[in-house]
């Protein structure tokens, strides 16, 4: 394991420690002042301090030292958790999180002087007679010390070599073992015998050819891989006969072997009792190196996971091709084929599940954001979280952080009122921000809602008209007005603040969500609050799609966009006179876009009554109708990136391989519709 690997593990441990500490801090803020909650924070800070020291992150180590000292006083009951102290702990936690971000190279090192002083000041508030703190027990969940010891040591501090003690069991030879082979393997790893214990070899009268009498202590170089050393003893029946540990050696020990006890020692006891004696070099049980605890989880390189997911995707495609081939040869009813299909689907689900992570990792960032907002706005916010154990794909998790952050900022900055205003409206002074996540079909819905003032639609519409986003006399529904807040350059903030209000945030939110194949919807009631719902795919690797034909081509339309499909009567689709066609669908005239026209295909159906019209919904351009020649199927397809294999193509989101081996393009509905229809036309009637 390289130093970078170990450091990477340390960073992960830091993140996990920060997450558990933050959860504990929130519990403390909510009034849970039990010892275990405090201990949770203490352990996290202590672990980070230990790792920081080991890796030479001195500013982090120094800060955690102050933080830890204060926590120790709280833990020992010398300081009580008053609201100001809780606030101080939260502030210190934020600085700690910044330090961790800085050592990861993702931010500047925080100026922690003021916080350090505050921590020191809080300490002096403790009674003068301070008892000696209990010894600190390292709580690192990984054996950092052992891993560090495996690293190449600095020149001035030589790492300790391995001391391997091995005493075969007396009956090993009779069972067919040959300890000499193991000794040769150790020699191949650089092992040198420091001590060969032959004291128990008897004279010929008591000699048993089937008995193993000898034992050894060997020295192996520090750089030797412990796993390889352990591997040598894989087939040793009694693990107690082997000890492997780091140890300091007398440098002369190997050069000058132990004296020859064979010729000088007193006569040995008879064979049987001698064999029963405990091995002379066997270490006591306490000295045995601790085995790594069997954990319920393992860390796996993400590249390996992605490779697995890719391979499973290929398997699904191949299985689909095989299935289609068999069907075309009249073997559709083969029972094994159905079993294979089922197993392949289960395998795919399992592979996807490996990449899934709880949404908690994103939700856990929110408390800090809210604390900062409370401090800068004077508002008071209570956070409620539900469904944080809900899992979705790691990539999706990573990409929703920014949109979610902005939604939270928006809710607090624009939605939740100041305490005085809330009280005047008969609401509690403390606003409520609710985060939730839940599975809905093949998607996960993350909601951010508040009990604030709701969207001021009159104001939104006025600003949109003022900025030319909509005509001054536009007649829009409440939902359409709500959508205006996602328009580029739109902002209702009266002053540009560093929180939100630069008019770029909500637009970026929607773009990011759309880039993930997701959708964002708003529900808002004046005076009662707003709710933003992000419907996201569970994975970016597969998509439910409708397979359609256009000319001699086959395309996939993601089901998430499809509202309905219909075949109009001749004459129902009307021309606007500019070559554009529209269809009245329940009171709304929706533009009809021929996929063939959009993608420059020939030989496609041009008369709508001869093709199929698919009503789609988009975030950016409302509803529209895509005209295709025919619907072939509806199925889940494995997404292949077109950009990776070719280049980005306008109107195309990716590609997939169909069961017959042909490549089908997955349509980018947002892109296709957005090019042609900025807003739906509303029927005058």
């Amino acid at each position: 394991m390289s130093p970078d690997d170990i450091q990477s593990i340390f960073f992960q441990e830091c993140e996990e420690g920060l997450a558990s500490a933050e959860t504990a801090l929130m519990a403390i803020k909510a009034g849970e002042h039990d010892g275990e909650t405090i201990n949770t924070i203490f352990r996290a800070v202590h672990s980070i301090k230990g790792g920081a020291g080991a890796f030479g992150f001195n500013p982090l180590q120094a800060f955690t030292h102050h933080f830890e000292t204060l926590l120790d006083k709280v833990r020992d009951g010398e300081l009580s958790l008053t609201p100001p102290l809780v606030e101080l702990l939260m502030g210190a936690f934020d600085v700690l999180a910044d330090h961790v971000t800085a050592i990861r190279g993702e931010g500047d090192q925080p100026d922690d002087a003021a916080m350090e002083q505050a921590l020191r000041d809080a300490l002096t508030a403790a009674p003068a007679a301070v008892p000696v703190a209990a010894p600190v027990v390292p709580e690192l969940s990984f054996d950092l010390a052992a891993m560090m010891a495996e690293l190449a040591a600095p020149a001035d501090v030589p790492a300790q070599d391995w001391r391997v003690a091995f005493t075969p069991a007396a009956g090993d030879l009779a069972h067919g073992s040959e300890p000499l082979l193991l000794m040769r393997e150790l020699a191949a790893l650089g092992g040198q015998v420091v001590r060969a214990d032959a004291d128990r070899v008897p004279t010929l009268d008591g000699f048993d050819p089937d008995a193993a009498y000898m034992g050894w202590t060997l020295r192996l170089p520090a750089a030797a891989d412990r796993a390889l050393i352990e591997e040598v003893f894989d087939f040793v029946a009694d693990p107690a006969s082997v000890t492997i540990e780091r140890a300091a050696f007398d440098e002369s020990a190997v050069a000058v072997p132990a004296p020859t006890p064979v010729l000088q020692s007193p006569p040995a006891a008879p064979a049987a009792p001698t064999v029963a004696e405990p091995p002379a070099v066997q270490a006591p049980p306490a000295a045995k190196p601790a085995k790594v605890a069997a954990g319920a989880t393992i860390r796996v390189d993400l590249e390996k996971l992605d490779r697995l997911v890719d391979l499973v995707g290929e398997l699904v495609i191949t299985q689909s091709m095989l299935s289609q081939r068999l069907v075309s040869n009249g073997l559709a009813a083969v029972e094994e084929l159905a079993d294979l299909d089922q197993l392949t689907r289960e395998l795919q689900d399992s592979a996807m599940a490996i990449r899934a992570q709880p949404v908690k990792s994103v939700f856990s960032r929110v408390p800090r954001i809210v604390r900062e907002l409370e401090a800068s706005t004077g508002k008071r916010v209570q956070i409620e979280v539900e469904g944080e154990a809900t899992e979705l794909d790691k990539t999706v998790i990573e990409r929703i952080g920014e949109p979610l952050t902005h939604l939270v900022r928006n809710c607090v900055d624009h939605g939740i009122e100041l305490p005085a205003d809330r009280l005047a409206k008969g609401k509690p002074a403390e606003g409520r921000l609710r985060l939730s996540a839940e599975h809905k079909g093949s998607r996960i819905v993350i909601s951010v809602s508040d009990d604030g003032a709701g969207i001021d639609r009159e104001r939104v519409l006025a600003i949109a008209a003022e900025r030319g986003i909509v005509p001054a006399d536009a007649r829009l529904s409440d939902e359409e007005i709500d959508q205006l807040i996602f328009a580029p350059g739109f902002s209702t903030a009266r002053e540009v603040s560093n929180i939100s209000g630069r008019g770029v945030g909500m637009d970026v939110v929607r773009q990011n969500v759309q880039a993930l194949g997701g959708r964002i919807t708003i529900q808002s009631r004046p005076g009662e609050g707003s709710s933003f719902a992000l419907a996201l795919p569970l994975t970016l690797a597969i998509v439910d799609g409708m397979v359609v034909s256009v000319g001699d081509q086959t395309y996939i339309i993601p089901l998430t966009h499809i509202v309905e499909s219909l075949r109009p009567e001749r004459g129902q689709v009307q021309s606007t006179g500019l070559g554009n066609r529209v269809l009245n669908v329940r009171g709304s005239f929706l533009p009809v876009l021929g996929i063939g026209d959009q993608l420059g295909l020939s030989g496609t159906v041009s008369e709508p009554s001869e093709g199929v019209l698919i009503v789609v919904e988009t975030e950016s351009a409302g509803s529209a109708i895509l005209m295709v020649d025919a619907i072939i199927d509806q199925r889940q397809v494995v997404i292949k990136s077109l950009e990776t294999h070719y280049q980005q193509v306008e109107g195309v989101a990716g590609a997939t391989i169909l069961g017959d081996g042909r490549v089908a393009l997955i349509l980018d509905v947002e892109g296709l519709v957005g090019l042609r229809a900025p807003m739906p036309l509303r029927c005058a009637s």
Binding site: P168, L173, P202, T203, F207, D210, P267
Partner: protein, 98 residues
């Protein structure tokens, strides 16, 4: 000096035979020279037999010496960390001869 030539393969069964031979020779009395110069394969049992024989000689009235050792024996003795004990007299003899 009676001379006992070790079998080429000193596995456990070979060691058992050689141990019995040595005991029989001990009963006959007189110095014993063990020739391990033809040993091609030797395991821990063989090394332990040689150590046992030398110990018996050191502690008893009978002189028992290793008078020859093959490369296989030398290698096994080194790996076991007992080369100095088994081969020191051989080396000394070689130095004297030189």
């Amino acid at each position: 000096m009676r001379r006992l030539t070790m079998l080429p393969v000193l596995d456990r069964s070979g060691v058992r035979l050689m141990a019995n031979e040595l005991r029989d020779m001990l009963d006959l009395g007189g110095a014993i020279g063990i020739d391990a110069g033809k040993v091609e394969r030797i395991g821990l049992a063989g090394i332990q037999l040689l150590l046992s024989a030398l110990r018996t000689g050191a502690e008893g009235a009978t002189e028992i010496r290793l008078i020859a050792a093959s490369r296989a024996v030398e290698e096994a003795a080194r790996v076991c960390g007992v080369a100095d004990r088994l081969l020191s007299e051989l080396l000394a003899d070689a130095e004297v001869a030189a």
